[in-house]
Symmetry: C2
Subunit: 391 residues, 2 copies
Amino acid sequence: MALFSQSEYESRIGVVKERMAQKRIDVLIVFDPANMNYLTGYDGWSFYVPQVVIVAQSRREPLWVGRGQDGNGARLTCWIGESSIKPYADEYVQSTTRHPMDYVSDVLRDEHLAGSRIGIEMDAYYCTAFSYHRLQERLPDAKFSDASLLVNWVRLVKSEQELTYIRQAATIVTHAMQTAMKAIRPGVRESDAAAEIFRAQIRGTHTVGGDYPAIVPLIPSNERTGAAHLTWTDRRYQTGDAVNIEIAGCVHRYHAPLSRSAVLGTPSPRLQELANVVVDGVNAALDVVKPGVTCGDVEATWQRSIRQHGYRKESRLGYAVGLNYPPDWGEHTASLRAGDPTVLEPRMVFHMIAGMWMDGYGLEVSEAFAVTPTGCEVLADIDRKLFVLDD
Amino acid sequence: MALFSQSEYESRIGVVKERMAQKRIDVLIVFDPANMNYLTGYDGWSFYVPQVVIVAQSRREPLWVGRGQDGNGARLTCWIGESSIKPYADEYVQSTTRHPMDYVSDVLRDEHLAGSRIGIEMDAYYCTAFSYHRLQERLPDAKFSDASLLVNWVRLVKSEQELTYIRQAATIVTHAMQTAMKAIRPGVRESDAAAEIFRAQIRGTHTVGGDYPAIVPLIPSNERTGAAHLTWTDRRYQTGDAVNIEIAGCVHRYHAPLSRSAVLGTPSPRLQELANVVVDGVNAALDVVKPGVTCGDVEATWQRSIRQHGYRKESRLGYAVGLNYPPDWGEHTASLRAGDPTVLEPRMVFHMIAGMWMDGYGLEVSEAFAVTPTGCEVLADIDRKLFVLDD
């Protein structure tokens, strides 16, 4: 059950090879698990050991290099043939003498690529300083250059099949957010609410189960709502609590994130005012989304809207989103922020997150959206407001 | 609500500074989120942006450097004072011109540490090749050396408070495994079973809620049981299926992992035989655990036991475990494998995982255990056998 057609994978490889040629790269070593998946289909929770995909101009198929016990996982999930799957022995794992990059170097040598111009995703998760150091040491004839984000930029515009998975993920996150708004009640532990949200994320719908999102539910409450990335505690919610909820649905590693804030009881005037300002700002920003507009333009519209009420937001308003693995669902390419020159095109997908983290309080309203030929398709279906939860 | 006493944090810092002195390191830059937490208490899902903890011989408190919007998270979770918390502006995030390591370099310069002998966790997750490259560029007077795993080795022997959290995590994983054995039934989607397991992991018990484990449930079935790290699909279980289940309980980031295999119906003779051999081998290996024995000895006992029946296992039998973040709950220090010279001491904790990934089938039986003054405390409480699930 291939998730994408053979021709879609070949087209991805083709575009990557073009970008490599523009940067004079013969061989690209891909460390980012999302990029590995994008090019080969490989999907497993094995990125905690070094593993790479190698794209060579001289080779039709990419090579997968990973741990021996994950070789069967590669055979089961990748479209590439047996001769392109290169598992390394367990003696390379967390050893004081051997390193998996020694094996990667050997593979490149066997493929007569050891003297190539090699591009490395130097700033990708899992491309450690030591891995790069070891490759340089073992491949003295290679000429290395930084190829961070080369594949990520190719991922920016989605295919119809990718959009299908993202829309399924949006259905899941809609349901998970509804679940959150039911679970968060006075007397309930934050951990118990998190458990119900997790369950909804993974159960998914009758037609599609959920994959694990790249980030766990972020549900800080009260003074913790002033911090962006706290998870949950064992505290029991009380009447008057404020809660931020940032979650995603995920299908075949494609994400649709969504954030809302809620109050148990009556919101404070300053929080309700902030909510009104933020919702107006998000509405205004979504309204200007269409092909031809830049990411910077979208953010500027948001800033103009909230500035009328005396607010400003220093951190960016959002980022490109799609296929990913922990620790992040963002793609690290285009951002909705001041001056970002990226021109919107149909089938780009962003997470617009209007997160306001103030001293001792905060609020989040976000939407994932796809750019359409004429505007913007908001993916989830949840009222855009501060939720007031009073039983 | 501090999770550990001030004196426990100070003792950790003291030991780390001793090890630094032995390696002639003045300043240690810590990238590993588990090590950051170990030294400061910092806990947030913010490791998807660059962040570090800096331990300097000349400074009593470590420094926390992270993203601006996570500064409040640091204030809420760390024991260190305001003057040790150094948040960077959002313009450093995923920028094409600025990098968070520029800010780290500025902090070191402000603290008069820019010319120090600096140790870097070069092979830690999130210490990217680019980050190291940038630090070298911005700190030309520093003398860099690799300090990978320096803090991890300090974590090997647990405190009583750490053991308390691990035991709580073990209670959670016991319950989560029982939940798995109920949820996995013919006609149920794998994703729905995963959802119930997740829920049990996060709900925890009446006395303690669950934190998110560093690895999601790994529950491959049938031919996928021959692959170590596959998660789940939307396939519905059928009578005759074999399933591996590898999960953990987690409390305050401390893990107790556990694996079992199950069959829906009657196990094949080859699988039942493998199970008997593996359980005997695990029993034999656990029996020899006590202070003074080496990790290599434990593994040798296992190999002798299974070799009697004509089996062998190439991959290691286990690893040290405890405090951690995605993507791994292992500590990357001592391994239960051939020749590992680490001598067992009381309060070390390991995950012994007898995973046999064969062609087209496989089986896992694992136990987390703590070394005691006289032997071994198995942490979870689940029958050590191949589970036969027949309704």
